[in-house]
């Protein structure tokens, strides 16, 4: 049991370390042109904490736990869904297809 647990921990550590290198590698060559969408896209990715929020909402034993977990579900959904939608909206413009933005009203 103990050794099984140990190897699991090491697997998680390996995943963690490899992800660090992948993360460094993938972003180090990005042009400044795309910094804003990149930040927004990365932001959306950590919205996947939604998965964790759903798991704890399922396991919740008390009303307090359930309430906190559901709040986490709401916040994580906003983060994830909103993040991907807004990133897509930005990137769509980089495609350069003529598109009149009706939101660009008279904001002084």
């Amino acid at each position: 049991m103990a050794s099984e647990l140990m190897s699991n921990e090491i697997a998680l550590l390996a995943i963690f370390l490899l992800s660090v290198f992948v993360g460094f590698e993938v972003v180090s060559k990005v042009s400044t042109t795309l910094h804003t969408p990149l930040m927004s896209g990365a932001n959306a990715i950590h919205g996947v904490i939604l998965v964790g929020a759903i798991v704890v909402a399922d396991h919740a034993n008390t009303n307090l736990e359930l309430g906190l977990a559901l709040a986490a579900v709401i916040l994580a959904t906003i983060n994830m869904v909103g993040g991907f939608v807004v990133t897509d909206r930005m990137l769509q413009m980089f495609k350069g297809k003529p598109k009149v933005n009706k939101d660009a009203g008279d904001n002084k």
Binding site: A44, L50, A53, I78, V86, M90, N107
Partner: protein, 461 residues
């Protein structure tokens, strides 16, 4: 669904996220990359419904679905309606709620485990709560600064550094208390102190440095998610969180370099720099103010014009008008380029988004390192609503808040035209000496009105 299958699908979702980040590195593949990321996130969300309760319907499933629906109803309209000028605020806000969610997940898991938790789990939980709360509170303050719900200047309070250091000690000590004694009171104290620290650590950051902080907090939230992945033993959360944490760290460093700032200087600079009261002799000095016709003539007889857009352009919604001007000049045989400072606008790369919105092809947007050597051959530089990014004080005035920031060397061009609303200094609050030089012409007024006048004057020539 078996654990192994679940983990495998989670890994596939993780690969989607890697591809998403990779795609985002070039404008051509970026949109597809983002969609791949969204697909990965959707798959991950769907399969957890089949896995979390051993294949049975989840406890509280209706409530969970309702909460997701509510989140979608809040998040999607916000993402659809936000103006591109307000993008930094939205990113800060989304980042904050993500950090808050991670902290809440950790708290619930901690309450549920009670005294049966292993030390390693408790340490990871405490880490998640601390960093998640800091990210949440910090992002909300960042949001308020950008939305101008509070001052954009650094907020400096007496003994600021000592107070912040003391709060940090409190955060760490209460974290240790949670680990050693367990129970919910220590965790509550720890969470509250972490929130306080998040507020205190963003307050002294000046407006110009806020973008770096957004990126840093983004990386923080990523690490929080990774830590909660450890607590919940979910591979996907570890992969996704670590990716964001690592890429966010790199991005933060790239930005700090672009602004010529050390990260430490950004975060604690306000306390170390001498308070630089903008010296009051400014109003007395003469500036050369011109009319739209003067500007049109200058532009008409130029061979090469560089447009330097700043946030003022976006505020006036003048992106389309500036493009009209650029097209008109190009049709008259003038060579036109846009000089984009890495931090033009209010977050790195922001100006590219704003001009993309006005259908300016991204090939015309020239980065700082490439445009700077061309200024001596440039006849006219048209600065529209920018100030700090062309302010020579960054080179000449040690001790000023932007000292050391690389700037666009517009002073090397033959003529400089500033379109400005007033003589008010920029976001960073620093006087610009370039405004008083002989080669500089100022055209006062709303950027959009001014540009429209220049366009019609040009057409009349």
């Amino acid at each position: 669904m078996s654990r192994n299958l679940y983990d495998l699908i989670g890994l596939a979702a993780g690969i989607c996220f890697i591809l998403a980040l990779k795609g985002l590195s070039s404008p051509k593949s970026a949109r597809r990359g983002n969609l791949i990321g969204a697909v990965g996130a959707t798959i991950a969300t769907i399969i957890v419904f089949f896995y979390a309760n051993d294949g049975k319907a989840l406890n509280n499933q209706t409530l969970i679905l309702a909460a997701i629906a509510f989140g979608v109803l809040v998040g999607v309209p916000a993402a659809r309606k936000v103006q591109m000028t307000q993008m930094p605020q939205l990113v800060a806000l989304f980042n904050g709620v993500g950090g808050g969610a991670a902290a809440l997940v950790a708290i619930v898991e901690y309450l549920k485990l009670g005294d049966g938790a292993m030390t390693a789990e408790v340490v990871a939980t405490v880490f998640t709560v601390i960093v998640g709360c800091v990210s949440f509170a910090g992002s909300i303050i960042t949001f308020m600064k950008l939305q101008e719900l509070m001052t954009t200047r650094p907020v400096i309070f007496p003994f600021g550094r000592q107070v912040i250091a003391l709060t940090l000690v409190g955060v760490l000590a209460s974290g240790g208390w949670v680990i050693s004694s367990g129970g919910s009171t220590p965790l509550l104290v720890n969470g509250l102190l972490s929130l306080l620290f998040g507020v205190l650590f963003v307050l002294p950051v000046g407006g110009a440095d806020v973008p770096i902080v957004i990126s840093l907090l983004n990386a923080f939230t990523g690490l929080t998610v990774a830590a909660s992945g450890y607590v919940l033993q979910t591979t996907l959360l570890i992969v996704a969180g670590t990716l964001v944490g690592a890429s966010g760290t790199i991005l933060t460093r790239l930005m700090a370099d672009a602004m010529g700032r050390s990260l430490f200087g950004t975060l604690f600079g306000a306390f170390t720099a001498k308070a630089q009261a903008s010296t009051g002799t400014v109003d007395a000095r003469p500036v050369k103010s011109g009319s739209a016709d003067d500007v049109a003539i200058l532009l008409n007889y130029a061979q090469r014009v560089v447009i330097v857009p700043g946030f003022g352009l976006a505020v006036a919604q003048a992106q389309h008008t500036v493009r009209e001007l650029a097209d008109l000049l190009a049709s008259k045989g003038v060579e036109v380029a846009y000089g984009i400072h890495p931090v033009a606008g209010r977050m790195p790369g922001h100006m590219n988004v704003l001009l993309a919105e006005a259908n300016v092809p991204y090939e015309q947007l020239v980065e700082m390192e490439e445009i700077n050597p061309t200024f001596p051959q440039t006849d006219v530089v048209l600065v529209v609503g920018a100030n700090d990014v062309v302010n020579p004080a960054a080179k000449t005035t040690p001790g000023c808040p932007i000292y050391g920031m690389p700037i666009l060397d517009v002073a090397l061009a033959g003529n400089v035209i500033f379109l400005k609303r007033s003589m008010r200094p920029g976001f960073a609050g620093i006087e610009n000496e370039l405004l008083y030089e002989a080669k500089t012409t100022l055209l006062f007024g709303d950027a959009k009105d001014s540009l429209t006048k220049v366009v019609s004057a040009l057409k009349a020539l």
